[in-house]
């Protein structure tokens, strides 16, 4: 099927003729910050200025005609502003400033209060996000390690293996596909599928005791599957962990079953054992050898099952899991010892244990190093790889004793594939006591990349050709390979995964070397072009014969997907000039009966010092919610604001909203910690992750909850939120039970609260969900629950607030 192409520089770069002129001299890109901010206002108007928009609705005139005298005092004509904006667009950067005076005046007037989220804060967040997106475009290291794994057949078994790779539109489906190794590899049967909750970044696998352990990393979750050695046995998911910071590495131990190592971008390294859980080995947000801002960390196993390597961009260290603070040594340092260039950085380290128990591969953007942990810091092999993009994927194919080992390097953006062979040669005559040095065997060889097969495909319609090209040039996302030997016939099969979820394969066959070459060099040639093994595997190709047929099949599926109407078309454009006719805007002469009714309601509520939950007239409301109790939970921000405004405390309200007072922060923190503790006691797994909410979530949480908690002018009903003094229990609160949700969940307690039977299950479901994970409840249910039955639980109130969408835009 379909896939969503990832972001391209054109999407976020600033492009205009003026800018081009300005930039002719200097290099560097300008990010189009203003455009993105504009997109946010257009895409999320409710989040941007929902409440004030509603409030000021009357004062913004959207018509075209001139305003009359009395109205002019309190209304501005928006169309004029829009015209001004358009004019400004047309002469971007025009020095005649007076043209924009009206805009300046407007922005000067409104900048501070019009926005739902303070503009400075919003801009900061957007800028941060934009910078991150840009740096990801320049070099995206989240795919380091590759998301393709090959589980080889057991020795002497059938010529069948299994590929593990992600697929689907968002690359969030994990597939275990059986592959029969014939002349060309063939997918057999439909793959085993698992749907995951995030984009799969990395798939790592290792075989221990005849079983394959497959680790899968997405940004905030890591999971591990076990695949029994027998062919056809179903993979079993074992465990999942959640991280607060995106994980940057997941490797599977080749020594002990069910052991993995995990790194997160906060600089933490964990040893993850299925049986004993997580053990934090190191936490250091700074790089090891010199200052280099990069949150990327990597970790792998070494010859000693209790010693792990940990890497950042500046080098590698090995540390003993039994005493990680004390026992460690430097394995590789970007610097003089290894003869590094300026600006050289570690891109991917890999343990070469299957070739030699004490050797390590380290790739940088310039070179490849082989290191021996017995003689650390001095590489035993160095070679400049000349790849255009840094090698993010590597795959080792160990040779038999005396033969060369093969290493495949793969780059993501350029799809480059490089094969190099090296040999561990013993020099020194001593009896088994000498250090070994390595030697490249033969010259490195470039293999075909995915986009290279375009020329072998039949001619297409131009636009099909373009789409096909786009699809085939999608960045590579993984690499796997295997050696096959039947008698004299030796060959190597290379699989390559693209970001669109296609898996391609190519076979390299061994030919006897030519006379002038060194005697035992492996001369490998590739078959012309690569062949797509199968497309994004929702349609499983079966019983395909030749490569050409495969292509035809894949192409057919591809063009079918192309013909489907594209998912996201341009948003319809409307002329704002004539948005409303004059008559549309002509309001009724006097207040309608509805308005009268509303006013009456409002007055009544004010008298009762209560508040109005829902503004719609009773007749228009959806079937009434089972509102049996006083709505005492958190009101939505708009209501609070209105309440404050009506009470005359607008100023104070605003103060509190913009600058959160210390007490409130403390309360929020305390609350969070309490929640963490509860979560810890429930889930031992995620317990060892330090739960730190990000800046973003903090912001949204506080801005939602804050004012209600603190507002001194709040009506007494609201005061139930903080734990009330014991002597005067509020009218509707229930005694606080030590295990609130257990008590709440029992149907008896639900009944005694007057909750109708058919609602109890929903409520119970909701509460159990809430108890399990961080609360992201569906909005209506969430607010309802908090109003219904947890009026006195201060710790629940903020969590069950209807959450506003995060102010960060989705691009």
């Amino acid at each position: 099927g379909c896939w969503f192409p990832s972001l391209v520089p054109q999407d976020i770069l600033y492009r205009s003729s003026l800018c081009r002129k300005l930039q002719a001299g200097k290099s560097g890109a300008t990010l189009d910050f203003a455009k993105q901010l504009g997109y946010f206002f257009v895409d999320h108007p409710e989040d941007a200025f929902g409440s004030l928009g509603h409030l000021l609705h009357k004062n913004f005139y959207l018509g075209n005609s001139k305003l009359k005298r009395p109205a002019r005092n309190s209304t501005i004509r928006m169309t004029a502003l829009v015209e001004d904006i358009n004019r400004l667009e047309a002469r971007r950067g025009c020095p005649r400033q007076h043209l924009a005076s009206r805009l300046r005046w407007f922005s000067h007037l409104c900048r501070d209060w019009l926005f739902e989220v303070p503009l400075g804060l919003l801009a900061d967040c957007l800028h941060e996000e934009l910078m991150q997106q840009w740096s990801n475009l320049l070099f995206d290291d989240s795919f380091t390690g590759g998301a393709l794994a090959w589980l080889p057949p057991e020795d002497g078994g059938t010529p069948m293996g299994r590929l593990v790779h992600p697929g689907g539109q968002a690359m969030n489906h994990l597939y275990f596909q059986d592959v029969v190794l014939e002349e060309l590899p063939r997918a057999q049967g439909s793959p085993q599928q698992f749907e995951l909750s995030g984009r799969i970044r990395q798939v790592a696998a290792a075989r221990v005791d005849g079983q394959d352990f497959v680790g899968v990393r997405s940004d905030y979750h890591c999971g591990v599957w076990r695949v029994p050695g027998k062919t056809g046995a179903a993979p079993a998911p074992l465990q999942v962990i959640r991280t607060d910071m995106p994980a940057s590495c997941l490797t599977v131990s080749p020594h002990l079953p069910g052991e993995l190592s995990v790194c997160t971008q906060s600089g933490t390294i964990y040893l993850w054992s299925i049986e004993t859980g997580l053990q934090q080995l190191r936490h250091d947000p700074h790089t090891m050898f010199f200052r280099d801002y990069s949150p990327w960390r990597w970790s792998d196993f070494t010859a000693h099952p209790r010693v792990l390597s940990c890497a950042d961009r500046t080098g590698l260290q090995c540390l003993d899991a039994r005493a990680p603070k004390r026992c460690h040594f430097d394995l590789f340092k970007v610097g003089e010892e290894a003869g590094c260039q300026q600006g050289e950085r570690v891109v991917l380290p890999m343990y070469l244990g299957r070739a030699h128990p004490s050797q390590y591969l380290v790739t940088t953007q310039f070179s490849v190093y082989v290191l021996d942990e017995r003689l650390p810091l001095v590489p035993v092999l160095k070679w400049t790889h000349m790849m255009k993009a840094p090698p993010l994927f590597a795959h080792l194919l160990p040779g038999k004793p005396g033969r060369s080992h093969k290493v495949l390097l793969g780059a993501s953006r350029t799809q480059e594939l490089l094969l190099l062979q090296y040999r561990v040669s013993f020099w020194g005559v001593s009896s088994g006591g000498s250090q070994s040095a390595c030697q490249l065997a033969g010259t490195p060889q470039k293999l075909h990349n995915i986009s290279g097969c375009l020329q072998h495909l039949p001619t297409q319609l131009p636009h099909h050709h373009h789409m096909l090209q786009q699809r085939l040039t999608a960045p590579a996302a993984g690499l796997a390979a295997m050696l096959q030997e039947d008698g004299l016939h030796k060959s190597m099969l290379v699989f390559q995964l693209s970001e669109a979820g296609d898996v391609f394969s190519q076979r390299l066959t061994h030919k006897a070397s030519e006379p002038p070459a060194p005697p035992s060099r492996d001369e490998a040639t590739t078959a012309p072009g690569s062949s797509p093994l199968f497309e994004a595997p929702d349609s499983s190709p079966q019983g395909l014969g030749t490569a050409a047929l495969r292509y035809r099949r894949w192409l057919r599926a591809f063009s079918r997907a192309c013909r489907e109407p594209p998912r996201h078309t341009w948003s319809p454009s409307l002329s704002q000039r004539r948005l409303f006719t004059h008559r549309d805007l002509e309001g009724p002469a006097g207040p309608s009966s509805l308005q009268k009714q509303m006013r009456q309601r409002l007055r009544q509520t004010m008298r009762e010092r209560g508040r109005i939950q829902c503004w719609e007239p009773l007749a228009l409301r959806p079937p009434p919610l089972p509102q049996t109790l006083e709505p005492a939970g958190g009101p939505d921000p708009l209501s609070t604001r209105l309440t404050a405004a009506w009470a005359g405390d607008w100023e104070q309200w605003w103060e509190e909203r913009t600058s959160f007072s210390v007490a409130q922060r403390q309360r929020a923190l305390r609350e969070r910690r309490r929640r963490q503790k509860r979560a810890k006691s429930r889930r031992s797994l995620s317990a060892s992750f330090t739960s730190s909410l990000t800046y973003q979530s903090e912001l949204s949480e506080l801005s939602d909850v804050g004012p209600q908690l603190l507002s001194p002018s709040r009506p007494p009903v609201l005061s139930q939120e903080s734990s009330p003094p014991a002597s005067t229990p509020p009218l509707h609160s229930f005694p606080i039970s030590p295990a609130p949700d257990e008590a709440l969940l029992s149907s008896q307690s639900l009944r005694c609260r007057g909750i109708p039977k058919e609602r109890r299950k929903t409520l119970r479901d909701y509460l159990s969900v809430w108890a399990e994970g961080p609360p992201e409840p569906p909005e209506p249910l969430g607010s309802q629950a908090s109003q219904l039955c947890i009026p006195s639980q201060s710790q629940l109130s903020s969590a069950s607030q209807p959450r506003r969408k995060r102010p960060r835009m989705g691009f």
Partner: protein, 412 residues
């Protein structure tokens, strides 16, 4: 405009280079050579301040192409190298060294020697630190070639010596080679670095002429000078030297102790362990147990039958004598949570039994004693052994049954 021209020139230069790289990586030597002739033009306007300038590129790529090109000859190669030497003065010594390696690979030792001598006499301006280092390397390699000639002469003399006929001229020549080699080799090994070949040759020379003190000093310096990288080979050479000298057990053990500290997975640890076991001192035997346990921690030792038999022997001895069970307990303590999965799984029992009965016997003994008779590994192997009616395995079962309480003591 000229600016544009320069830009385009730069662009086409880059494109050309990428074509060459492409051809190189696909072994299309002829195509690469053709592109390289175009690339030579880039020397004309070499304003680049890149890490590797065009002239160095041409040298590197040209060497690679000539090395693989089917129609190239040694003569052409030499010619190319001479040109490269004049192309960049700063690189002169590097190019020379590379040239020498090529000559040596082609067996032209005399030409190589000549080239080295020529390079040694080369002077250009003020000597920089890098040049100084490279010059030392050139001299060292010349020393190595002198050593080669020396050992050739030595062999001739030894052969003749057997015939009872000595040649004074040959002997003198040999001594001459010795002097030349010794001077140059001595220099290079003073600089911190990894100089294994040079050190070995130098020590060989010294030992031949009976200068054992100097040899010992050189090896000690190479092993213990903290400015040098922690090179396990240095300790191996020292150990081997001491062994040749017939040194006392004590000094051999202390040499290996340091090797054990640097590389606990070194192959010599078996020798070390055997040596320690023979010792009468309790402390040394204790260390021996630690050495063998530590070695078996490493993945590379997993299937080393000799190491397992060492461990099995020691554990058995301790269990029988019922002394020092606490040694095992201490070693086992830090391993009991992962050795069972690492060494004694049922899968490994099956595989070891199929592949190496000896290994599975030794491992089963250790597993039976450390984990009790109910451990999977022991159970499987002893069952298979008894089924195959092997006497050894029946004895093993009896022995483990008899000492079945040991595992409770060491894990408790």
């Amino acid at each position: 405009s000229s600016n544009e021209h320069k830009l385009n020139f730069k662009k086409s230069k880059e494109a050309c280079l990428s074509y060459i790289q492409d051809a190189l990586l696909q072994k299309q030597w002829k195509r690469a050579a053709e592109f390289l002739t175009c690339y030579v033009e880039s020397l004309e306007k070499d304003y680049s301040r890149e890490h590797i300038g065009p002239s160095e590129m041409i040298w590197r790529i040209g060497t690679e192409i000539l090395w693989h090109h089917s129609q190239s000859s040694m003569k052409e190669f030499n010619c190319f190298m001479e040109q490269m030497k004049t192309l960049g003065v700063k690189r002169y010594l590097k190019v020379c060294l590379e040239h020498v390696f090529h000559l040596l690979c082609n067996g032209q030792i005399d030409e190589a020697y000549q080239n080295l001598s020529l390079a040694e006499s080369w002077r250009f301006g003020e000597q920089t630190v890098i040049q100084d280092k490279e010059m030392k390397l050139i001299q060292a390699y010349r020393g190595l070639l002198d050593y080669y000639s020396w050992s050739k002469q030595k062999n001739i003399l030894l052969e003749h010596g057997e015939d009872g006929f000595s040649d004074l001229a040959v002997e003198q020549e040999m001594h001459g080679y010795f002097r030349k080699a010794a001077v140059n080799l001595k220099e290079i090994i003073k600089i911190p670095g990894v100089w294994d070949v040079f050190v070995k040759c130098y020590v060989d020379l010294l030992e031949f002429y009976g200068d054992h003190n100097e040899a010992r000093q050189v090896l000690n310096e190479y092993a213990y000078n903290s400015k040098f990288p922690a090179n396990p080979n240095a300790h191996v050479y020292l150990y081997q030297f001491l062994k040749r000298q017939g040194e006392s057990k004590k000094s051999l053990i202390s040499a290996l102790k340091i090797l054990h500290d640097i590389v606990p997975s070194h192959e010599l640890m078996i020798d070390f362990n055997t040596m320690l076991q023979k010792s009468k001192k309790r402390k040394k035997r204790r260390l021996g147990l630690e050495v063998i346990f530590t070695a078996l921690d490493y993945a590379g030792w997993k299937e080393n039958a000799k190491a397992w038999s060492c461990l099995a022997g020691q554990v058995k001895q301790i269990v029988i004598s019922e002394k020092h069970l606490d040694w095992i307990k201490q070693e086992w303590n830090s391993r009991k949570d992962w050795w069972p999965a690492f060494h004694f799984s049922r899968y490994l029992a099956k595989r070891n039994w199929q592949e190496n009965k000896n290994l599975s016997y030794e491992k089963a003994l250790v597993a039976g004693l450390l984990l009790g008779k109910d451990c999977k590994y022991f159970k499987y192997v002893s069952h298979q052994g008894c089924k195959a009616q092997l006497k050894r395995f029946r004895m093993l079962r009896k022995f483990v049954n008899k000492h079945n309480l040991v595992y409770l003591k060491i894990s408790g």
